[in-house]
């Protein structure tokens, strides 16, 4: 019995329609490019056409002569403000505007500010830059070869292209496991470079007001407070005079976490000109210069007993970071969370060695719907599982059954040191197998094969650590990875919630109100959610790594509980009872001795402003900062079936089943939207979407004609299952992250399915994307197909 029915007030677990939609469906969103300020000018960037070259000279005189041009800024001029270089979030440095060399194609060389973007573009073309070409390095192998030119010759003491080496795990124990193995399975693959590529590119409107000394920047950022801290450090402006506003964002997927030179230049230009300066990146600029993901080489071995138990794994990883170590990676682990690989399997021994390398490619490395390299971790894990099962001659499902962590093993410590919080892995697997009709499919597959048709089934089972972080292991610029919420309940019982995270489409304005409804019984429609403005939102670390629900969502529950605690004291006062005699049901306090006597949360709100107990501070508002004790560990099973055309190598998806256990679902409709979006990106990466480079360092995949994204036509349908729910034991409402799971775990399901369809060839691996020509080559040449750069001449 409750005062209100949670399902009717849009509380936890209801598929409440999104409040954001009302403006978006009318074309009334407010994205950065929609912002127009009085006197605003427009900035365009001149980018390097070459991947590696010494800059001999830059002549801007012709650009200055164009009518309507207000400023032509080069690195040399930025250097006078100490802004030619900036620190990265990975404690490296990155050029804002190139002075000595250009180090990747698309690097920022100069900017022009003009009355309109057309004029600024015209003037950019009139800047004469003389380059002295240097050899371009496009793979880690080239970069660490003897005698390779040093890309980062700007850094004292850097005499090669190695950024770091890092290892984790028990080497000796793993060596012993391999000595005892009956079977050793090996796999080498390249996870191609991928770009998050939200449809909206990056941009900013910087507005420095000399009179007030205040800098306001409207920008496409997933993490406004981090940007404020970074700008305070980079531009040496006082933090209280900086306001970062992230308005509506047209998709982020990790691309809008780092601080890019374009943002910094628009700020510098606004300070120099004392006028608002807008910079809107074009698509090519976005694709060739901003945060990419993956581009990792993985090589490893698995030690197995003949009855299908995994005894140990040994992994080597080379990460291509591009020209600057500029990934937005806040963990204390150099290779991010790559060592979450194999976490869902009960494996006694594991060892991982990783290297990070500079190349003449765009900087970045972890962004894209991924908690800092868990995508590579889970893809490699599931490709290795697939290969190992085949090496053992064991059924794919059975091999996983024998190794998945059992329900009675939680909390489970992995050999790399993570602590899995909860899960029902075996149950999820069985739900998935039933949904795909596993045994029947195997029979159909056999019959089809006899007729020359190539059917395949791929399984991917995975968990991933979501919700960075905890303050022991995660920080950005020395600031720990907590998150925050601030709640004000107004006298009439309506409320304002402000959170430290920032939606880019995930629907925070809808779901975070639902958390408050669940805790206080205030209808979700009576709660407005604000975020993204550093002058009003509490300090937060932003939205990425599926951290909003695990961290800011937890803070929201906690702040609502603080409100409830104060309301309880008010209720006791109103009921003329002691607090111990007051009970709570959703939306109402009542007397334990006579439940018909009670007061609603709305009545408590009014009393907080007009009839509070003696000595109580008026008002009903609070804030909460939440430092999670652990990551949340959602689990998922993705199974795809495909048919490969043996004549062309083209493959079609027959069915996709997704079983996601992400704990308690705040809004099932939105959770399912996240899963379908992730599955689509998984399908994209496995089938068509990648960036590569030729031997000169030219980026292939610099526009949507080369960088293929699936449309509604290519994208398959998805069957989603939500019957398994294991609440996180340490999250206040039992929720786990979900935004990334399908993009992380999905690719291996598609690739394993194609590999299963062509298993008769003996081919162990085709690198993603599984383009028809690659599949055809595997079918006809019966050999593994590498997708690593440089791109081959015949491609």
């Amino acid at each position: 019995m409750t005062a209100v029915d949670e399902r009717k007030i849009g509380g936890l677990g209801t598929s409440r329609k999104r409040v954001e939609d009302d403006r978006f469906i009318r074309g009334k969103g407010n994205y950065v490019d929609d912002i127009v300020l009085p006197g605003m000018l427009h900035m365009e960037i001149l980018r390097s056409p070459v991947a590696h070259a010494r800059i001999k000279s830059i002549d801007t005189s012709r650009a200055w002569e164009v009518p309507g041009v207000h400023l032509v800024l080069t690195g040399e001029m930025a250097a006078t403000r100490n802004l030619a270089w900036m620190p990265t979030l990975s404690y490296d440095t990155q050029a804002v505007l190139a002075t000595d060399k250009v180090r990747f194609q698309g690097q920022e060389v100069a900017v022009v500010v003009a009355d309109d973007p057309y004029i600024a573009k015209d003037a950019c073309e009139l800047i004469d830059v003389e380059y002295e070409p240097l050899p371009a390095l496009v793979t880690p192998e080239q970069a660490i070869a003897e005698g390779a030119p040093v890309i980062r010759d700007d850094k004292a003491g850097q005499d090669d292209n190695l950024i770091y080496t890092w290892e984790v795990g028990d080497k000796d124990g793993t060596d012993r496991a391999f000595e005892q193995a009956d079977v050793i399975s090996k796999l080498r693959l390249h996870y191609p470079r991928s770009h998050p590529s939200p449809i909206e590119p990056c941009g900013s409107v910087a507005d420095f007001n000399r009179a007030t000394g205040k800098l306001t920047v409207y920008m496409t950022t997933q993490a406004p407070h981090i940007v404020r801290a970074a700008v305070a450090m980079i531009a040496e402006l006082p933090e209280h005079m900086i306001r970062i506003v992230a308005p509506d964002i047209g998709g982020g997927f990790g691309n809008k976490v780092p601080v890019y030179p374009g943002y910094v230049c628009s700020i510098l230009c606004s300070i120099l000109l004392e006028r608002p300066v807008k910079w809107i990146e074009d698509k090519t600029g976005n694709l060739i210069s901003t945060g990419f993901a993956r581009d990792m080489y993985l090589d490893s071995e698995m030690a197995l007993s003949k009855d299908g138990k995994i005894l140990g794994v040994r992994i080597r990883a080379d990460a291509d970071h591009g020209a600057f170590y500029a990934d937005a990676q806040p963990s204390k682990f150099k290779i991010g969370l790559l060592h979450s690989t194999f976490a869902c399997y009960d494996i006694p021994n594991a060892h991982l060695m990783a290297r990070g390398v500079y190349t003449n490619k765009a900087p970045g490395g972890v962004a894209y719907r991924c908690s800092f390299r868990v995508t590579e971790a889970m893809f490699f894990q599931e490709r290795m599982m697939h290969a190992a099962a085949n090496d053992l001659g064991m059924d794919q499902a059975e091999f996983r059954r024998r190794n998945l962590v059992r329900d009675d093993q939680f909390p489970y410590r992995t050999p790399f040191g993570f602590l899995l919080d909860s899960g029902q892995y075996h149950k999820c697997l069985e739900v998935g197998l039933k949904a795909i009709d596993y045994d029947n499919f195997r029979e159909q597959q056999k019959q089809a094969r006899a007729r020359g048709r190539l059917l395949g089934l791929g399984i991917s089972t995975m968990t991933e650590p979501l919700g960075a972080g905890n303050s022991r292991e995660f920080d950005i610029l020395g600031i720990k990875m907590f998150d925050s919420a601030e709640l004000r309940v107004h006298p009439t019982g309506k409320a304002l919630l402000r959170i430290g995270s920032k939606t880019q489409g995930q629907g925070h304005e809808t779901t975070f109100a639902q958390i408050v409804s669940h805790e206080l019984g205030i209808p979700a429609d009576d709660i407005v959610v604000e975020h993204g403005d550093t002058d009003t939102a509490p300090f937060g670390m932003g939205t990425y790594a599926s951290r909003s629900t695990p961290v800011a969502g937890a803070a929201t529950a906690m702040v609502a509980r603080k409100i409830r605690a104060k309301a309880r004291a008010i209720a006791a006062h109103l009921l003329e009872a002691s607090e111990e005699d007051v009970e709570w049901e959703l939306g109402r306090f009542y007397l334990r001795s006579s439940p018909e006597r009670g007061v609603t949360i709305q009545e408590c709100a009014m009393a907080a402003y007009g009839n509070m107990p003696d000595g109580m501070e008026p008002g009903l508002e609070h804030h909460a900062y939440y430092d999670p004790p652990n990551m949340t560990w959602p689990f998922a099973v993705y199974i795809a079936t495909v048919e490969v055309d043996p004549e062309t190598g083209v493959w079609d998806v027959l069915k996709v089943v997704a079983v996601d256990d992400c704990g308690v679902r705040i809004n099932p409709m939105i959770v399912e939207g996240q899963i379908m979006g992730g599955l689509t990106e998984a399908y994209a990466m496995s089938s068509m979407q990648f960036q590569t480079y030729d031997a000169e360092g030219n980026c292939i995949g610099s526009n949507y004609m080369d960088y293929l994204l699936p449309s509604a036509w290519e994208t398959p349908g998805f069957e989603l299952h939500s019957e398994v729910v294991t609440p996180s034991p340490h999250h206040p409402i039992g929720a786990k992250g979900i935004g990334e799971c399908a993009a992380v775990g999905g690719p291996a399901a598609f690739v394993n399915a194609v590999m299963d369809a062509i298993s008769h060839t003996g081919v162990r691996n085709i690198d993603m994307p599984l383009l028809p020509d690659r599949v055809w080559e595997a079918l006809n040449q019966r050999r593994d197909v590498s997708g690593a750069p440089p791109v081959r001449a015949e491609d």
Partner: protein, 173 residues
Amino acid sequence: MTVVHEEPTAGADVPTRRIRVTVNGVTKTVELEPRVLLVHLLRQALGLTGTHMGCDTTNCGACTVLVDGRPTKSCTMLAVQADGHEVRTVEGMSTPSELHPLQEGFKEEHGLQCGFCTPGMLMSAKALLENNPDPTEDEIRWALSGNLCRCTGYQNIVKAVQWAAHKMRGEQA
């Protein structure tokens, strides 16, 4: 109503053209450089920022508007080519009191997340339903294949169009 495109030109001697274009039922006279793109006329001169610019290369479809009823990517059409033609944008879909069924459908079926591709999707879907009131799933997917979405995976967009088609045919949704 006369709108003068006020952005200064690349030189005083750059010629401008005067065009008449009907946008969402209102005829406007605009003077502009011949090189100005239709999307910039809509967004900057007319303040209709519901039409978004995504890729600059006619691929993503965020800038889709209807020109004489046909879905057209306004990032690769010059504004002067719209002279004497009728343009419809997302802002013209609803009245203050009533949404278009497609707009309702997108909300009901969770057919959008970040919202950036949504106006273009709506315009392509509108053109589809005006020509084909009862499309199959394949027909919907094909009609929207010039509009990219990175968030939703399209399944709910298809459902949203079906929801609207039902409603527009007067059937129970």
